[in-house]
């Protein structure tokens, strides 16, 4: 039964590219300063997605998650993504 699909769980991390301003991160950093945490040099915000799906093998699974991340979960103009399975 080599064609049987297996269940996979992937995590996709999306973050703003280096060099792209992150207004949310900047504001959080400022708030931390107000709270007395003065040693914080930088905060970059991002998001992650948990994707569960069926796939024939790990290679196919990776291909699929990379595809949906590139097409929808991240906007390649401003964001990078990293996939973990």
């Amino acid at each position: 039964m080599s064609k049987e699909k297996k269940s996979y769980q992937a995590t996709v991390y999306v973050r703003l590219k280096e060099g792209v301003l992150d207004p949310q991160g900047t504001t959080i950093k400022r708030a931390l300063g107000d709270m007395g945490y003065n040693g914080v040099e930088e905060i970059r915000s991002g998001k992650f997605f948990e994707v569960s799906f069926l796939s024939a093998n790990r290679k196919e699974a990776l291909k699929l998650v990379n595809q949906i991340s590139d097409k929808l979960l991240a906007n390649p103009v401003i964001e990078d993504f990293k996939v973990e399975i």
Binding site: V20, L21, P23, Q24, T27, L72, L73, N75, V77, I78
Partner: protein, 233 residues
């Protein structure tokens, strides 16, 4: 001529756009549903403002995959006029019909106020009724209007005269002070290379009558009408 206003779940400036065209510009206008697969013979498609799909994921990211968008890609490819206002602009960016992307406003706040924009390009279907450097008073209302593009992309925009509007003072001075959202170099609106697709953050459909505070929005719609009618003759 005929305008088509697209309604996505969460669009909220669709009736404003419909209203100005029907009662102020006195042209034919109809609604297009996001599930439609036909533009009903429109000469110009308007992607209105609002919060399509709740702004989930990123503004415009989900709307970009609605069935009607395939028709809009084909229409734009053939030279059809498409104008995206506010959320419509965000959708055009996500769809790749215009270059760049929107970031959250630098203030992180929803900004709702009158702004002034300077017409940098009068030779487009959307600005041909304006003079070069004319200042228009039009309101903005958005949380994600912080336009971003790579350095290389910005260079191309400039080389190809694609920056149509800059935020400015009432006298036309371009300065960060008059930038409501942190947009790169005060960019308020851009067009594509072929100049048949325009995206702008300010709402011309909200500036059609003196009683509302300004009539300057009419310049945009009058330009479109002039362009289409000139082409037809």
């Amino acid at each position: 001529m005929k305008f088509g206003v697209v309604i996505f779940p969460g669009s909220n400036c669709d009736y404003d756009a419909y209203q100005i065209i029907k009662t102020i510009m006195k042209e034919e206008v109809g609604f297009l549903w996001h599930q439609d697969k036909d533009l009903n013979g429109c000469d110009c498609v308007i992607l209105p403002g609002g919060f399509s799909y709740g702004d989930y994921l990123r503004t415009g990211a989900i709307a970009r995959f609605a069935p009607i968008m395939q028709e809009i890609f084909n229409f734009a490819e053939k030279g059809g006029l498409v104008i995206g206002i506010c959320n419509g602009f965000q959708i055009l960016l996500e769809a790749g019909l215009l270059p760049g992307a929107m970031l959250r406003n630098s203030s992180l706040r929803f900004v709702c106020k009158w702004v002034h924009i300077k017409v940098e390009q009068e030779k487009t279907p959307f600005t041909n009724n304006c003079q070069r450097s004319q200042v228009l008073k039009i309101p903005v209302a958005h949380t994600d209007g912080n336009y971003f593009i790579s350095e290389e992309g910005l260079k191309k925009l400039k080389e190809n005269n694609q920056i149509v509007f800059h935020y400015c003072s009432p006298q036309g001075e371009i300065d960060p002070v008059y930038n409501p959202n942190g947009a790169l170099e005060n960019i308020a609106g851009i067009c594509n290379l072929k100049r048949n697709v325009l995206g702008m953050m300010p709402h011309p459909e909200r500036a059609g009558e003196k009683i509302l505070g300004s009539e300057d929005g009419r310049y945009v719609f009058n330009s479109i009408i002039t362009f289409v009618k000139r082409k037809a003759n």
